[in-house]
Assembly symmetry: C2
Homo-oligomer: 334 residues x 2
């Protein structure tokens, strides 16, 4: 049983740390001038020297009496951050709070280059320019809020998919969560995710979108530490011809999918490679489940499954799956 | 009495939101190509369209039975973020957790352009390039870890001020918290801070460094909402010839200062304007205190007062001052 929605939770500690990365040295850059505060003194700024790069930010809430056997690590997607698991754009409790209420210690993170991980300058450290997701891209391409051509800067003229469960009236709030991203930092991000596992130890991964590929690769790299992997609309997966699914024989996997996948070319191209990895896992005897929400009668979910108007219901499906795999203790709340 | 250090705290909700800003439109930019995940499909990215800009990120912990009369909002300094109030670089509980243990609801924020607020592209939205603080700048100039010329990339060759209270062995961890910053976003940041006050209502501000100037300006803009302002090494203040200190007659102020201020030219230039504002407040009859820690016999504090090895002691001084001003209820924990 999950505690009633308004019951307090008993928290041992809230905290954070950075993991991975280290100092790198910038050199050969021209000096600059900076005024720190309006009207304040001019500060001669030498951009050369050591800065930090390659680290990830991790934020944890440790319960006084967790019922989870291990903590749950929630990994965001591309252009996202740990914020995606906090309060939803329309102000409801996010998955962080829902999982805490279910008795599970939750670790959120901002991967390398995102949010509180901070980022490093380009082209000196990062080798390319960042991408900034536009609202049109989110709406029409990645997040499946509406069909191609249906975004409009004027809220009154936007057209969402019929039955859309994302709270589209708050898409501006959603866009405020959107992080610039680079296409050239995947190795640094993967290294930081693995450094996180080395620090936290045994855990469950719950990963969204691009975070799914990082989670699947991390499970392959540390199968003895990962107790389960839950993937929300994973946007990538290992290639079965290059990776050995049998390494994951003791790691249950749950692939969760929203709606409208066949109406968006990005997803038409993205789902099959993930399906191939799922099938390789099954062939290798891994306990892997493919939860197609529309096939289960749950229609209208966007790519933002943890923010949609039935986000608590989907959280509960995942929590039930974790309970069924004995990763959350049953019985009365501790 | 603060609860024992290891006692759980009873939490009603942990959550977050963005405040301020909105969608802006980018146009005239050349198309780009993006591969979202290694080996994944090529994604044609049109950089033109609406993105969010000008927002601030806010994270709150609401206690089940707060003893604080109003929440405390902790505002970071330049190059900082809400992380600065979380776990210290050497792994001790930060001021967020210390204030929660004292019974106060705490709101952290990442100001415009920092951390989870996300940032907007330059030169299209922001009009200048960002600055990246180097470890040498932090060590020798702003954070007063050691004298000029004492930073060295080799940890064994770094020289800190004698009696330095910052945990200098973890300066790499500290640098991982450091955010790029712009010198041209102060107006947007001020607007977002004021939008935050409009949303949260009556509150206490605890502000560090550059955040101090924003806090002092915010108190002037909303003196009926700000119950007290606590400033840790404020790096700027209103000009008494331009601002009316008498507006703050009902807003007590506490200015807290660390050590080594006279050994760093940046601080030799920075303290006097803040002192002038303090004196203007006193002249206007405001309840304002100037807490020079070395004069109180507390030596060795860096600019990172909330991370130094006596950070809990300084937190307790601030909490005592808030209790003395009846902003935290006395008596047994609720």
């Amino acid at each position: 049983m999950t505690a009633p929605d308004d019951a307090p939770i008993s928290v041992r500690e809230i905290g954070s740390f950075h993991v991975g990365g280290g100092l790198v040295t910038l050199s050969g850059l021209a000096p600059r001038e900076l005024v720190s505060v309006p009207g304040g003194p001019v500060h001669h700024a030498d951009p050369n020297g050591e800065i930090a790069a390659g680290q990830m930010y991790v934020q944890f809430v440790a319960l006084a009496q967790p019922r989870g056997r291990v903590p749950v690590l929630m990994w965001h997607g591309g252009g996202g951050s740990g914020v995606n698991w906090e309060t939803t754009p329309d102000g409801r409790e996010g998955w962080q709070m829902r999982f805490l209420r279910a008795g599970v210690d939750v670790y959120l993170c901002d991967s390398v280059e995102r949010g509180r991980a901070t980022w490093a300058p380009y082209p000196y450290v990062y080798t390319s320019e960042p991408f900034f997701r536009t609202a049109r891209e989110a709406w029409e391409v990645t997040f499946r809020f509406g069909p191609a051509g249906s975004w409009d800067p004027d809220p009154a003229r936007r057209v969402a998919h019929p039955g859309q469960r994302f709270p589209v009236d708050t898409v501006d709030q959603f866009m405020k969560q959107t992080m610039p991203r680079w296409a050239t930092n995947d190795q640094a991000a993967q290294a930081a995710y693995q450094a996180l596992i080395a620090r936290v130890g045994p855990c469950v991964l719950v990963a969204h979108s691009q975070g799914g590929h990082f989670a699947l690769d991390t499970a392959l790299a540390a199968p003895d530490q990962i107790r389960a992997v839950v993937l929300l609309d994973a946007s990538g997966a290992p290639d079965p011809s290059l990776a050995d699914a049998a390494l994951l024989r003791d790691v249950p996997h749950l692939f969760v999918w929203g709606d409208f996948l066949d109406r968006h070319p990005f997803w038409v191209g993205t789902v099959p490679p993930v399906r191939r990895w799922y099938e390789a896992l099954r062939d290798a005897g891994v306990d892997a489940d493919w939860l197609d929400l529309p096939a289960r009668g749950i229609h209208g979910n966007s790519h933002a499954l943890m923010m949609d108007d039935n986000s608590w219901e989907i959280a509960e499906l995942v929590l039930d799956w974790l309970r069924a795999h004995e990763l959350i203790a049953s019985g009365p709340a501790g």
